[in-house]
């Protein structure tokens, strides 16, 4: 300390000099405390603002309801998770291609926050554009891999993409590290099961194998549900346990209306307070 090193000649009134020093320090401490409080308030304000920006972005991107496709009933849900205060990067989309054909997409960007929401937006518009160009799901995913890199972006994304023709029971699926869709109900079909498909490697992770399409044949009047992992994931158990819960709940509830089915799946699997965000899309063949 400079005070301790002063020549004695300057210490004419050491008592007063000491008090003065202490007063300055006390004032500085108060100033620092006040500044810390302001900084903390400002951080809090920025945090709320950041969440609000991300939420606004997300709401602008996710359609409130799916477009009407004759012969097909479509329902969507987005539920924010209760843990953490940052917005997630879950999404769904339905892209009509004209006639009876359309593409559906469900995806999940890893992590949370403004950056995750921005990447989710980028993937939403990119996948829509590639779908509108007429590409099949495996090609759409292949193109998406060029738009993102976990090494630079800090996030990766899982995506499930399907191409349907309402007049046909066949769905062309391709997945990028996403959980398999559930199929339930329909004429002569088993109660509920997961579609078997190669998971494929996620978007933003170079080095994986090329995306392989899977052809799924659904039962007449059947239902297909695509979802993000927030619906089934619980800490302390393997994902298979959550997937089994989903299959069982869907088997019991598949006879309900599509809206009621989605509502009861969320309620039964998460108790209506999912810890992570959930995006859900349900498709039911009407003819």
């Amino acid at each position: 300390m400079a005070i301790a090193g002063r020549p004695t000649g300057h210490a004419g009134s050491p008592g007063r000099a000491g008090r003065g020093w202490a007063t300055h320090v006390a004032a500085a401490v108060v100033l620092v405390a006040a500044t810390a409080e302001r900084v903390s308030t400002e951080i809090g304000r920025l945090y709320v603002e950041q969440r609000s920006v991300a939420e606004t972005l997300q709401q602008a991107i996710l359609p409130d309801k799916a477009p009407a496709i004759p012969g097909m009933q479509i329902a969507v849900r987005y539920l924010p998770g209760v843990s953490g205060t940052e917005v997630g990067g879950d999404r769904y989309d339905v892209v009509p291609l004209g006639g009876d054909r359309f593409v559906f997409v469900v995806g999940d960007v890893s992590g949370r926050g403004v950056r995750a929401a921005a990447l989710m937006a980028s993937l939403q518009y990119s996948s829509r554009a590639y779908a509108l160009e007429g590409h099949p799901p495996a090609v759409i995913l292949g193109q998406l891999t060029r738009t993102m890199d976990v090494a630079e972006d800090g996030h990766f994304a899982t995506v499930l993409c399907g191409l349907l023709d309402v007049a046909s029971p066949e769905v062309t699926l391709a997945g990028a590290g996403h959980l398999p869709p559930l199929v339930c109900g329909g004429d002569g079909a088993e109660a509920a099961s997961l579609a078997e498909a190669n998971p494929g490697s996620p978007i933003g992770v170079p080095g994986g194998a090329a995306f392989e399409p899977t052809l799924l044949t659904t039962a007449a009047h059947g239902t297909l549900i695509a979802y993000t992992d927030g619906l089934v994931e619980r800490r302390g158990e393997a994902l298979d346990a959550g997937l089994q819960r989903l299959i069982q709940a869907a088997a019991v509830r598949c006879g309900s209306s599509l809206d009621d089915l989605l509502t009861s799946l969320v309620s039964e699997l998460t108790g209506d307070s999912p810890s992570d965000d959930i995006a859900l899309i349900g498709l039911r063949w009407l003819n």
Binding site: S110, V150, A151, T158, G177, S201, V205, R235, G236, D240
Partner: protein
């Protein structure tokens, strides 16, 4: 060693050791979006001296979310040989269902 409060719901410990050119990162607890940055800084500090192989020993890792996966994958971009050793069933299924078995090599 990066430790958060063990009483925390999201507690993760990362312990680093070196065997010649191999960095071994022993993870325990829950690697998620809360704990991932502390773990990332421990790993990056340990890689200040170059390693040609990275082993994540995860036998005591109870849970890993997508932020944790992102950390592991981002390491494969820096170091060619990345190994995930002794995963529990929970961690193994997360890696399998995320389609990452070609990228995060699990042993056994």
């Amino acid at each position: 060693m990066a430790e958060l409060d063990p009483a925390d719901e999201t507690y993760c410990a990362a312990e680093v050791s070196r065997e010649d050119g191999t960095a071994v990162i022993r993870l325990s607890g829950e690697l998620d979006m809360v704990s991932v940055e502390a773990v990332r800084s421990v790993i990056e500090a340990s890689l200040a001296s170059p390693a040609d192989r990275l082993v994540f020993e995860v036998s005591a890792l109870d849970f890993m979310d997508s932020s944790g996966i992102a950390l592991l994958i981002s390491m494969t971009r820096k170091i060619k040989a990345v190994e995930v050793r002794n995963p529990t069933a929970i961690v193994r299924r997360i890696i399998e269902l995320t389609g990452l078995t070609d990228i995060l090599i699990m042993v056994p």
